[in-house]
Symmetry: D2
Subunit: 463 residues, 4 copies
């Protein structure tokens, strides 16, 4: 299932949409493994609850560990019941000694197995996902610190606006990564077993249901829920929402990188091996493959979330269709979030920030973003309105002749005279128009993001 | 890739979400096959256009037919470029004699291959999909005709309303099936090759581009587009929309079946083998597995369509992510629509309509749905207002005592006298309250649906 | 903006989609109010930070409170800038004395105002929303307790399965309501001001930005964020996700009610005035208007969430379109969730549960759901296989002749003899088939839900 | 409802999301108007069918034209029935003479009125929408023709790739606009009345239903459907799909414009009045307000489509929630598509293409995009491999020193000698690297798009 670039889901598109270990813990084999693990844990929990023989439970555990179950065969027989648990239980019964048969699937219904297996899928995907997010965040932190003073143009509506630093951009990415990491980890701590039997009453095990559910949860390292959640699908949409939030942040970072890596902007470049993103036909190209792959993943998430939210409208004690419609989107969501995180780790680990190009682009506006500051400098001598007109006149030359605003204002006799009258010289003008002097709280904000990252404290509020 | 129930995508969930031949023509193997077929067709088209040697083109065609390409290997190398075409071309070049190498991938870019392969995927899924829809429609027509007079309760907001017939229900299903069949077939006729080269100018083949594109279209049985459509994603969303419309109709039918099959309604039962939908633990249960599986498929479609529509916002000459985000949802859409159609064919082929239960349920409202007609019968003698009050009074007894309205009105002395005064007897009351006499245009509408189905004429307008 | 049924958004569809106070706190007037409140709070915060005169700040606060701003006029001028803040600031400057002009919009950008106003919108909608959820939960708790022993059929895939009680159904609803109430309240505590200026550096106020942001947060009762969140849209998708979870639970409850209220099921009826849900033409009908309205609202939510998640992919320091695309879906989400909550409060407050009908429906399966228990009763005498065959034979009579399983087994000579041999009589059979004796942990689960509701403790795990 | 910039929906955000006449034909007033028009048309059709007095029908028509119906009042009373038709009918009955009362709402159900009104809404929005698309297409055609030779860089994955012309970009936009115009117009021709009565049998008018439906269709200029479509929601999703396709094309154009208008690209600028897109604080900025507004609209469409597709799963003869959930998304879809079209018309009408900047950006890659052509020029003398190495060496100087490839190759002694040996000079090199000579079928493709636009023939295939 791996590929040359590490583990993943394999297949024709797996390198893009199924990269990394989190993604690898989805797919048919992972589902089967999770379902078998739930069955084995249920057998052991049943033994601990005194409902079955412990030797029988051991036999089930052994069968699950050593027997091979044929995915296509199980799947083919899923047609009769509409889910693969029925044939799986039959196969599992067949794989244990006759006397252990009654220890299989104790009091459970298909949905108990599939829902709990889905929780295991998420639980297993989370450690590699969180590790990828952590490493990505560490790299964002490094970039934020290294480039805290690397001037670049802030851009709104894709237009150059005021100066910022690349460090601030990285700090914002960092704050997002840290925050969704916390949400994802918290979601992981709330994953609960589903155990309720055919109608949620646990009736098949008499009064032992709640205890059995608690033991099952302990076996699997999952939470025990207040009530079975077969009909209240928060068990699905809550962790899914946390993953979707991861997607939002990863997509934002990748979108920024694709834009900053544009030929005409050229402020960042992806790393990666020599053949990454290259084109033999077009030697000048260096495609931002990691960022593009992230977006190829994250852009599928909103639609999957729509399906999961819509599936929340379960009917009665088990939905006729809405339940089934959750399985593929949930797998897809885990896989795509995992792949996007793996790509982002790669992306931020190798990202090269071109400080010269950033400065060049910033200078291209000739100081105009800071025009308002210049007006303020002139206002004491000229009055606000006159100062404004004068700066506008100079600004027109900047646009027309490509001359820096600094010079345009100095060459304007009226302006120069006013400045001199106020005891100000060219250096005052230059300082006023120096983007490095107009960064406001940039440094403070970077420090905050770094401190929060260090302390793993991303709660709101500055303190 | 098949299963015990016929072809499909295999795997753990393939029987539910990947049933039938249309679904089977998606997946990695189908994508690879389609991409190879595009490359071979391009080589032959290049030969016909005089751009490459025909022997070289034959070598490419032969390699595509006989060589084995390793999906996981290709996929692993897709990481460098972000798509599997780059390694595929390399592998294909390696699989032909050196002198045929230049006949491979003539003037094409990765997107040309993937977009055109996507069209082939749809094209190949359509015949089995249309066949499933046709057979399903034939069965709906049969049910509409057989049950044209089988009375049942029409239901609005899940409440019994006025009488209809099961034939009319089937006729409405039929009209939907026929209509989406036409839309899907029409979409299939408009599938066009994408051939534009790196930036859509076809520059790598000089002036020969348009002719080559036309030859390529002819080789593949696809249309030649007005312009390359690499940036205008109607080529994707148009056929996708047609498939989504198929999903809407199949979902509606399945929803009706799950409701009609409810224990408390019991008006239809799915067929299927003896083990289908049964439960050893609960012998009374007979789950509507086909309908549930249809819904498990169709409910995933709206979210996939959201992704495809959102992906229409391509940047420049090739999108950084939006293009990639189309591949999986499009495959999924074809697979799920195909699976839903295959299940629906099965569903309608075996559906049993229980006329007795329908009549029983209809009678349970004691004639109240037709109360208004009774008012009209009494109004000439009593005036509309008095008649209305009287019927309401009788209606209250129906609800309270479970007595049919027919009797409740006849036992009301005031009503009976008024009826006699108007020369009307119990038989007039009975006829007035006979649901079979209050079916309006039911028969005409069934005839229309059947005629349209026979003539394959589903255009709007009755004539 | 209210209607005869209480506050709401008014308009043609407002009673359905905009019911209640939470919904009423969306719409143009609410947005304008929120934006003005942000501007006034910013002026006061600026005064506290020593950046502007406190008299000027008072003038702004006064203008915001007393002046009338023309929504259509502001909206019309929004065309030039693409958002209504630019004309709003102009109008506000015009509404204060000249000397207070500089106290308006201190260092802010349009996005600061709109993002923060969006947080206010949510903050203001939450108290009535939470109150509606609370009241609904109280009623669910009452139903759970009152009907803890009211037997009904559990239903899976819309088929009768095992017995449950209506109290358990209500307890599951309760657990969902309590849980999303907590999530929504928690989301409300994390709503943070957005203040960053044109590019997120707060440069226009020099070093005072962070302090000003903190003061602004205090003025508005919002949180101070770690960093400005103009580009990391968790500020939007986090609370939106909490609202969507509310929608999931409300939709599930309403779906159950529409199903339980079906003519053929008849286990619950909505309350409401005498004209609610009635139909003069069809006196037998009583449409579940509240539940239908809930679904009309909640079914719009998944699509809106898809838009909000997709909009998370902001470009650079302010998105060109993705930001704008958030405003309407977010308003819609608050309104629809609020309306659904208001309808649900109404729904659960008046819901009538028909215990007789529940029992009747349960009995209709003649004891078959408990067939397995009967097998267990017979097995000691007959062996499991023979017992199974025998029960199956009796079950066939139940289905064919409508006879209760109790009698069918007793009338079977072989079965009766075996029972007698085991010292069991008709009363043992009856007890075995008594649904009330097969409720498993129902009571415990109801107690858990009630205790959690009482203690407002909905954390996972039973204690 | 208008604003300073023309008609629209008014309100705080109406200038962005509700611009133009198509958008103006949505909203409460438009819905009310449409519902009243359906009622009046039904009265006239009933008179023509001989079911009611023609004087009564005239009275209804008159009342609809002259009476004022209070939207908030109607809306408030919609709470009892869950839709506003019930109070509307009551109000209409109250507005006509008593003897005309029976001519109101003949045999209809609420859904008949709302579904048919929805079709009218689309029908009324289409002419202005199509006009906006037409004008936009005319401008795209003008740009395609004027700039057919205006060289610019084609860009893939946001990286400069091969040369194209701005005319080709505009031609691609044109092909999209023309194609969705046809789809939208075709959808408009298929809009059909819905008339079926409470359960779709038209029973309330006896045998006259089909004729009445045909007359109603004629009155309203809508189609007569084969069957009532109350349960088969293709009547909604088909035209919705056509509108969504419009959104896909408009979003693509707007995305391109926001990118081309970036400060660092600067190849296009929006027109518009002097205050459009400007920023007093940042005089250098000129925000692409029209393009941003288009995206603010179009990005909401995929989510709305998801809701409409999901709502296709109607239950029985009228859905409990799915039907209601269609109303707002459908209105929103029409409004947003209309607004996006109006903005696009404005956008393309005023778009300025900066040919100099395009050329400059293209030159910035120093000829590297055409490196492969140079290899081909050298290959005859040097062999392909040597030629490739040589060009690569020269390319490295281009990247490092910013020197054009033309000069880098000429300054390479080995290369120059080989060229001379082959009788080729600097001019041959220059011609090889001339982007204008590497445009492939650009001209042909532009001609095709223009011809198709002229002949309004956008069928697939070149002729």
């Amino acid at each position: 299932m791996g590929n040359a670039y590490g583990p993943g889901t394999g297949g024709l598109f797996g390198a893009v949409f199924g990269r990394g270990e989190a993604a690898a813990s989805t797919g048919d084999a992972a589902w089967l493994r999770a379902m078998l693990d739930v069955e084995a844990a249920l057998a052991r929990a049943s033994a601990k609850a005194g409902l079955v023989d412990s030797a029988a439970a051991e036999a089930v555990t052994r069968a699950v560990a050593t027997e091979t179950f044929d995915i296509d065969e199980l799947g083919a027989h899923a047609a009769a019941a509409g889910n693969p648990v029925v044939p799986l239980v039959r196969a599992l019964v067949g794989a244990v000694p006759a006397e252990a048969a009654s220890a299989v699937h104790k009091g459970a219904t298909s949905q108990d197995i599939i829902d709990t297996a889905a929780m295991l899928l998420i639980k297993r995907a989370l450690p590699p996902l969180l590790a990828d997010l952590d490493t990505a965040a560490d790299d964002a932190a490094r970039l934020a610190d290294e480039h805290r003073a690397t001037l670049m143009s802030g851009r709104t509506l894709l237009q150059q606006a005021l100066p910022i630093t690349f460090g601030l951009t990285a700090a914002e990415w960092l704050s997002g990564l840290d925050r969704v990491r916390v949400s994802a980890a918290r979601a992981g701590e709330r994953l609960a077993v589903q155990y309720g039997g055919a109608a949620g009453t646990m009736a098949a095990v008499g009064d032992d249901g709640p205890r059995l559910a608690a033991l099952l949860a302990a076996e699997l390292g999952l939470e025990e829920p207040l009530l079975p959640w077969h009909t209240i699908r928060l068990g699905i949409v809550e962790p899914a929402g946390a993953l979707a939030e991861v997607g939002v942040v990863l997509g934002k970072i990748a979108r920024d990188v694709t834009l900053l890596a544009q030929s005409e902007v050229g402020e960042v470049r992806e790393g990666g091996g020599p053949d990454r993103g290259g084109s033999s036909a077009m030697p000048h190209k260096r495609n931002p493959v990691a960022a593009v792959s992230v977006l190829g993943c994250t852009r599928q998430i909103p639609g999957l979330m729509a399906t999961l939210y819509a599936s929340g409208e379960h009917e009665y004690q088990r939905a006729a269709g809405a339940w089934h419609a959750e399985w593929e989107p949930l797998s897809g969501l885990i896989r795509l979030t995992g792949s996007a995180a793996s790509w982002t780790r790669d992306l931020l680990g190798g990202l090269y920030a071109d400080a010269d190009r950033m400065r060049e682009n910033l200078n291209a506006t000739g100081g105009l973003p800071l025009a308002e500051r210049l007006t303020a400098l002139l206002a004491p001598e000229l009055g606000r309105l006159n100062a404004h007109d004068l700066v506008r006149r100079a600004g027109a030359r900047v646009t027309a002749e490509g001359m820096p605003l600094r010079e345009a204002i100095w060459e304007d006799p009226e302006a120069r005279e006013a400045l001199k009258r106020g005891g100000k010289g060219m250096s005052d003008v230059a300082e006023t128009l120096d983007p490095a002097a107009y960064l406001g709280a940039t440094d403070t904000l970077i420090d905050r993001a770094l401190a929060a990252h260090r302390h793993r404290d991303v709660t709101y509020g500055a303190e």
